[in-house]
Symmetry: C2
Subunit: 299 residues, 2 copies
């Protein structure tokens, strides 16, 4: 199987109360593809500037990520800077320099148009629609989005929702989209918007999976320390998409496993700056954390 990931590629500068990281790999595609690479072969589509570090491309290649669709343009790579409050409750954006990303128009290489699974990582819904229009066949489409697009591009987002099989959002975004605080009521409304499958992420409190009348609720792992929450949501949906693509099974029980592996990848992501955890994470580590989730949630 092959997973197509389309989103942003960036260099981030991150400040927390205990440390910082400058010009480190960031962007939704970066996290999504690296997390997915533990399960399947991701193909990424995106744009970077001619200053994009070789070390990051090498990291992608080491993770068997197909870079045919990663365009290198003259100019600078997208930069984002942010600072977190002490408990990571508040994230302040310090700067956003779109650079070459400003005029990004996703163009899928021919070999990518038959992907079995498509992850529309967090970018403008108009770009997500452009991706969908280039696809052949009937891929399983997983949609990620954010509060910004819910507020500023609702019409395009509604159109993407209609064409998606699974929506993955956090509880605040769910409330913004539906006006419903009750998770079951929110999920029903979201299903009416298009996707058969709804995943609502609740941060440290875990995640919920809904399909028809089925519900799965997974508690969050309790981590000893959080170093940098950047990319947690992207790693979650990346791990989930990678697992689903590899297994090719769309039963409710298998989708549960997708949510579990998404949760696990997100948990590793936040334990180090940027994508650092993905530079040393091994499959055994993932299985160990799976066992931890079994221990803490099964009775």
């Amino acid at each position: 199987m092959a997973l197509l990931v389309v989103g942003s590629l960036a260099l981030d500068t991150i400040e927390t109360q205990t440390g910082s990281a400058t010009e480190v790999p960031g962007g939704s595609t970066t996290y999504c593809a690296l997390a997915a690479s533990y399960f399947t072969h991701p193909h990424i589509v995106g744009v970077v500037g001619d200053d994009f570090p070789d070390s990051v491309s090498t990291l992608f290649k080491d993770h068997h990520i197909n870079l045919e669709g990663m365009k290198i343009e003259e100019g600078k790579t997208f930069r984002w800077g942010g600072r977190y409050s002490e408990d990571f409750d508040i994230r302040t954006t310090l700067f956003t320099h779109l650079n070459v990303f400003e005029n990004f128009e996703p163009t899928l290489p021919e070999t990518h148009k038959d992907a079995a699974t498509v992850l529309l990582a967090n970018i403008h819904p108009a770009l997500q629609l452009q991706v969908l229009s280039q696809l052949n066949g009937n891929p399983f489409v997983i949609l990620d989005t954010m509060n910004l697009w819910i507020n500023t591009a609702r019409e395009e987002l509604d159109e993407v929702l209609k064409q998606s099989d699974m929506l993955v959002i956090n509880d605040e975004e769910s409330l913004m989209l539906t006006g419903k605080r009750n998770y079951r009521q929110a999920a029903s409304k979201l299903m009416e918007m298009g996707p058969e499958w709804i995943v609502i992420k609740k941060g440290q409190h875990g995640a919920l999976l809904f399909q028809q009348d089925n519900l799965f609720s997974l508690p969050g792992l309790i981590l000893d320390t959080v170093i940098d929450p950047t990319g947690a949501g992207d790693s979650f949906v990346g791990g989930l998409a990678g697992y689903l693509d590899q297994s090719g099974n769309r039963s409710f029980d298998n989708m549960k496993l997708g949510v579990i592996y998404g949760t696990i990848l997100a948990s590793f992501c936040v334990e180090d700056f940027s994508v650092d955890a993905m530079t040393y994470l091994e499959t055994d580590d993932i299985e160990e954390r799976y066992d931890e989730l079994v221990m803490m949630s099964q009775f």
Copy 2:
């Protein structure tokens, strides 16, 4: 086995955005004992005025609750009035008339002093200490408390903690007591204060159980409607205490079941005003909700 419950008995007046209830059964003992009665025979110790409705005493007796330790004094029963905001996020106390409860000193009937399980429901820690001083043997002591006592009676509370086997608190109280937001770190600090077992309630996000290095995380049930959250915490600890007393098994696996039954009793409690749900709740309903928890959390 026998479960001793000591706490408050009251008549509540409750206002929500969709309804109200006047002079209805309330107080920590009332909810705890009724929830526990689905598993064991609770013995309650408390005080009411001579205006305490016969209908409530009858409800207790119908649930096989032993009232030998319920003192009826000349004067009025403790009254409490509260109002909830639309999403039940904020509870405003409208009045508190302690009445006969003002000079309550718990006196245990001889037959109650050998209880196998003691639930110190939410009252002033000085009164909880008086209960502990009257006990024979080595009962399993479960402690409930609240923000008010953490702020105003910390010394007495610390003493009760030293003598308790299990502490059941919510996440805000855990933060107040320990200064730790991280649940694992908070639980370690709480264990150092005395109890071997720590339960941290997270409202709709479920509950955590800690003992030594063991952890159990149960997600919350997703309810269609909440009518009145009064007594949810008391019903939780009551269901938990009742189940543990009846089973008499203090293995980690069995304590998990205690947390599960506590969660279930709390879920029924909030679906109607006051203790109304406990007037028609049947054992089959409890097992049905147990199956629902299995369905939504097991993989």
